[in-house]
Symmetry: D2
């Protein structure tokens, strides 16, 4: 049986002993730690979906590798229909309300490693691909969660990896042994990493020169490998779930972000899939971005759907749902969701099948959709607040509502249109606040803008992907230039 | 043989005798009239594409109706792949440089008539569908061009059709006979209509009440039917092709727009597919919009490709192609093209197959893409002019360049970077002028914004298509309501 | 001596005994309560500015009323130069770093009351104006802080005040006595109200019909008047100041928002300036909006200045300050600041002097600037996060940095360009987080969008203020009509 | 008498004999040439305004130089009120409907020359300033029109003036004689130059290095100086005025753009105000841009006023004036006009008085307003077309309307709401077409975007003008960075 469930996943976490710090303290048992609850639950709903008959078609796939029905989260995308299904699955996850189940990245990394290891082998006759295939088979059979470790700290961004004052600023090989390699450095911004089952560590996300081969390193390793330390940022959720305030983030949201330190970590060769082949870091990042931006174009509209619903709900409770300017706001938000989603589907439709059997989505539409949605997030929040009115930032607290001395006034004066209980209207306001003006909103803002690659990097990718010379050729004909 | 070519098409026009006026005069022979040359050529390239081996897969299809390979322009869309092919074909038409071959509307109207006649028959046991099928079979076999007549003059837009002071302001049935109907009224904005082979006339593009049944009328008829008059606006092209100025519009562009007058025109029953079934005008328009906006999401990016190419070309000639702000402009333009195209593909991917066998694209993404691209057109032109510099609006004329007394100065002072002939640079500027600041540019602007439906109408379509209640339901759960 | 200082202000708060609740509890001594610290300090810096020789010209004025040099915060604007000075003062307050000193509203309300009481007297021969003048003289002499209470709870926004199920949903007169009036209702969103010295209560912010005269009520009253209760929302600041995190909001920001309950409060006639003159609520709101939106166009750019500085700082520390796309982001932000500020100055330049002696700024430019800046806030935050990179949402906590076991890693891997201490770079990131992704950022977002009037209300004001008929007249001439 | 009128101006043109070419032919008498009619009339209305009692305060000023009342178009700005008056005058010119009277540039150039000649003299003890003052006195007394010649052809924009393959690509001194200098080169984009009375020629609009001193050359000279040739582009107006079509451009609009060739032109020293002082080209351009962008912020809103009026008019005639989405479009357009105008006023309010007595407006707000309005032009046109509907691009021609056979149909079917003659509605559509989709619209588009400096150049000016270090300093304090 290749499909795990939420309980099995959480149990797997208990068996792991990663070295984790948060807020100045060592955390021994993340599975039962309140600060990790939201993140672990977010991952767990991805298991729920796979086990939900309603999403069977979208959430599972037949693996040619294991000949079993597996979770789509671990599947190697084979064709256009697979890719479309993934985008649809990510939007459908919105029904579970978590803004990020994190597991899209599992698939995106596995697919990328599948592709790049094949390419390296083809050139160098190495045997990386079979190692990756073996790891993926294992992941598919256990239905594990794969964690990503992708982004280096970078230090001075105007300098190349090898020119940094501290050579460790980008993760690199410090020793090559007969049985494996020793790596040193760190990966920043590793969402959810401590509560995954295995890290897939990617090399630096930029082209490398020939004297930077040590920075071209990719491997997989258990999260509790000796020498790995996770320094975690507390998630943007309340420590204890609240009843009325922060209704969304206290129940559905909030990943832990981690910096992952590799302090001379030994990786045996059988877990290595890149070790010095510097010309492959560029193609690898392009492939990863193609997969991951397509995914983002699936999950972002799901969050916008919730924003749209919340906006319509508060307008309904305020008695203004039919006001023309509010319907214009809603329409603009819907168009933002549809454009983003369309970009995801277009990336899926226009992919190419690689020799290794993996189907790689087209990069440009996904990059475009991700940047578009990132830039529109501020506008969506403007609409949400404009439609709501000022109570988003000024409504009294839950405690005042529960205090009889003040609660009687709030019950009276926070009333909206007839037929809507005051508490419902308060909840709707607190939801908008949670989505636009809370610590969660802040975290999501960052994730939407810079998560998976900064807009500027993706914009450069768009320009590179586009066939500018072909368009110039047409312009010459149109201008009568011979 | 079901595939016609450019010559056969032009020959077919010579056999027709429509009553056509332009610029105050009767035009007897449109096939040889200079003002119609550009428009007829634009349609003709759609025939070229079908006969071009390079586009065979995109431009042809197997018709289940005729069991022949036919032009995709006459094909009833059967499935997702068909729909995707149509979007791709429309973008590929950009290689022929015409901004509008017009024939997408052929397909869009035929598909709509196929669907709506089936629906009416289902309810009323009428026999409209077989008439439409017969007409389409004929079109497919002859590879005819079908012209659309869709939009009523409307008069006072705040009033319903039946409340207009002049009852003819919307096309309607004035007499029902045993052998057919007599219609009166007009259709505005009928692009290319005089040089098509058959008109498909659609009913009013708004829901009708029960006392407005006479306005629910749809039929097809030859363009030279007694009582039909075309009043044509001269196209936005130079009367004689120029050598250096207006290089694009004088060779590739420029449809004739026509008002089509129906002055008590008799239509025999066998050409009628709607006559009083007022509840079907809404669904018909929705279906047509779904087809046609998907098409627009294919052709608009082709035009943007040309704009991108022209922008990159002038930057190249100015010696500024690598300047960072110019690359940002290009990237923004590319993203606009890709978003629009993505919306087209997403409409194709998310369609539904109707009982009648036609596959109807999803409306919302196409509407969104059309409005998005319309709103971005001004920005694209801003970028084109900003990148070019002021010569777009100030460059001297071709005649001054050819006059030796002034030409020597222009040759010297219009020179750009080394290696680019002055005339090439002048041509590149004249192309940008043609695309942003010419009569053609004005016509295209209008077509991009209001062609096929105003943005506001499409925005309302987006709001209607979106499942707002489902999103509100999710928001309630997120807020802990109920 | 008519100029108070921070100590005197805080002392004045200790002498007042308003009935204040926050987070479910009664607060007896707000002057020493940690949750009120930030708000009170924000008001206090406005006193600092007045006492700062550097701002003497901007921050003080000669009062014709008291013949003394007074604080500009209490001044009745007399002419264009006064109005310009106020806009400049508000931007200069940015040097004190508080996002809102609140005292602009003092002036805006006093000026409005001055104007409207004069107008009412002129029509009804009432004696409201002399009461207002007396109150203002008192405020000027004591240099008091006037609090605003402007916005009603509104209930069902599609219904007029008199049609609400609960007639108290808008503040109104419930009894008229020989010695005064009794009022009931509430005012929502009263920023800073509990720590002002006197409330100026404005009537409903919409036109009223003749059967709604009881809602046309304006008066001033001490904050500790019998029957008034303040229900306060905890400010968006950390309870205890932090060392490294939330560096901005824990020291400079964060007002308390209050709902002010009027539970049958008696107001003697000598404090009333409107009581039933319903036709004056519209003009009063227009005047208030004209004053207050001009103020907003002064303070908003000061906040944008800080955002610009923070963005340039993090780019500097990342080693990317000279990157072209970052300079484009900075330029866009600067243009947003300058446009907003220009609108404020334009409102000041284009005002009119009223018979009563007060100079009323032009509404339209101020409304425009406020809405423009509100809509751009999301874009500014996008730029800030894009330029920063993902650490804004993922950086570890202060406690981890102080823990030696993890701190050594953070010291090493959070290092930016050579020459910048790691802690400085961390502080710069924490500042961006504070400005874009914190509870404070959420509160400020709401204040920027809906504070002082929703964008849609202001947009309607723009359309009303503009002379549309005059422009239509010109268009007719241009079209050769008539 | 220092105030000229339209007749005197036109008479002055007849006395001049510039060497002018247009459309391949020499034009001997521009004052009576149809192609120059529109441009000359546009300048003439600026004389009308000065003689119109309604605009006396705005359009005239007291000259300290001549001790006479002079036209403001020739005035040296002395203070804030002068600057404000100029911005107001430019918007008021909208009442004459010409989009560009051109004479703002007269004032802007004179003021710039006044400033820069003073600065050069101060450093080098030259006597340029008195020459400029003399020329200005003469201009003021004769009320002449000064023409600008500012922009060099530039060739390869990636190369400096001295690195061009052709050294003449930027205007420069080829010989220095005892009695004067000889200059060679060209100035592009000189709007209206042939029908001015005197050219003020400015040096290259970029900083120059020390080996490029010959390019630092400024002088004034009559338009019919030996060696000067004007190569003119035909204006974007119909050759003969039309009755119904192009109602605006055929009567009010359309300047001639000229390339001005200097083929070894001798300039006596008494007309030279810069000859080799290369360090002053940067400051001069900054000053000119400050003056001229302030002017643009005055005239652009006047054009937007007409666009707003035309949009409201067509909505009125269509019966849709009260539709909510149309009112939103109008509001957006009004806000664009007000923002632009506010930037102009803000530039005027924030200027500084220079030692020489001229008051120089602040650059940043004017640059910002010009770029803002340029970027919004596309949006305004989108709104105009969206509100109008498709007839803008499809309406039949005037000739068809006058032909009885077709005219009867057009009279019937182009009817709008009751009470509006069909011809009025047609005229309103033709006006929108003229403003959005005509050759005139194309020319105006270019002028709005690149006229007086490209957006990117102005954006760089904004970044330079802004005190970024001061904002960074504040950010450091806010971040707690010592």
């Amino acid at each position: 049986m290749a499909i795990q469930n939420r309980e099995g996943y959480i149990e797997s976490l208990r068996r792991q002993k990663p070295k984790v710090f948060m807020a100045g303290e060592r955390v021994e048992n993340i599975a039962d730690n309140a600060m990790f609850r939201g993140g672990i639950n977010s991952v767990a709903v991805a298991y729920d979906a796979v086990n939900d008959p309603k999403y069977k078609d979208l959430a599972t796939a037949n693996s040619p590798l294991t000949k079993q029905v597996i979770s789509r989260w671990n599947h190697i995308v084979e064709n256009e229909q697979d890719a479309i299904a993934k985008v649809k699955l990510l939007r459908a996850m919105g029904n579970y309300l978590v803004p990020c189940s994190y597991r899209c990245i599992t698939a995106d990394i596995l697919n990328t490693a599948w592709f790049i290891s094949y390419e390296i082998d083809k050139k160098y006759n190495t045997s990386y691909h079979q190692r990756v295939v073996g790891a993926i088979r294992d992941v598919q059979m256990k239905d594990s969660v794969v964690g990503g470790a992708l982004v280096d700290p970078k230090g001075d961004r105007s300098l190349r990896p090898s020119k940094q004052v501290d050579p460790d600023m980008y993760l690199h090989i410090v020793e090559r042994r007969s049985d494996g390699i020793v790596v040193r450095g760190a990966k920043a911004h590793s969402t959810a990493a401590p509560y995954t089952n295995m890290l897939f560590v990617m090399p630096v996300s930029r082209p490398l020169s020939d004297d930077e081969k040590d920075y071209a390193v990719g491997f997989f390793t258990p999260v509790d490998t000796e020498g790995i330390t996770f320094i975690c940022r507390p998630p943007a959720i309340p420590l204890e779930p609240k009843e009325l305030e922060e209704p969304y983030s206290s129940r559905f949201a909030g990943h832990v972000e981690a910096m992952v330190i590799f302090d001379d970590v030994f990786i045996p060769w059988e877990r290595v899939f890149m070790a010095g082949e510097n010309e492959f870091t560029g193609p690898m990042m392009d492939a990863f971005a193609s997969f991951h931006m397509m995914s983002k174009c699936g999950c972002r509209p799901a969050s916008i759907d919730l924003a749209i619903g919340a906006t319509a709900l508060i307008a309904d409770y305020n008695g203004t749902e039919m006001a023309s300017h509010i319907r214009e706001c809603l329409t603009d938000m819907i168009m933002t969701a549809e454009i983003t989603y369309s970009c995801g589907l277009a990336a899926a439709v226009q992919g190419v099948r690689h020799d290794s059997g993996v189907y790689i989505p087209k990069g440009m539409p996904g990059y475009t959709g991700k940047v578009f949605a990132a830039k529109k997030l501020g506008e969506d929040r403007y609409f949400m607040q404009e439609v709501s009115g000022a109570l988003v930032a000024t409504m009294a607290s839950e405690k005042d509502y529960r205090n009889p001395e003040t609660g009687k006034y709030l019950e009276k004066y926070y009333k909206g249109r007839e037929g809507v209980p005051t508490e419902h209207r308060m909840r709707a306001f607190k939801l908008i606040e949670d989505l636009t003006a809370s610590p969660y909103a802040g975290w999501y803002h960052g994730m939407a803008i810079t998560g998976g690659g900064t807009p500027q990097a993706l914009r450069m990718g768009v320009l590179v992907d586009y066939d500018l010379e072909e368009s110039k050729r047409k312009a010459k004909i149109a201008a009568g230039i011979g």
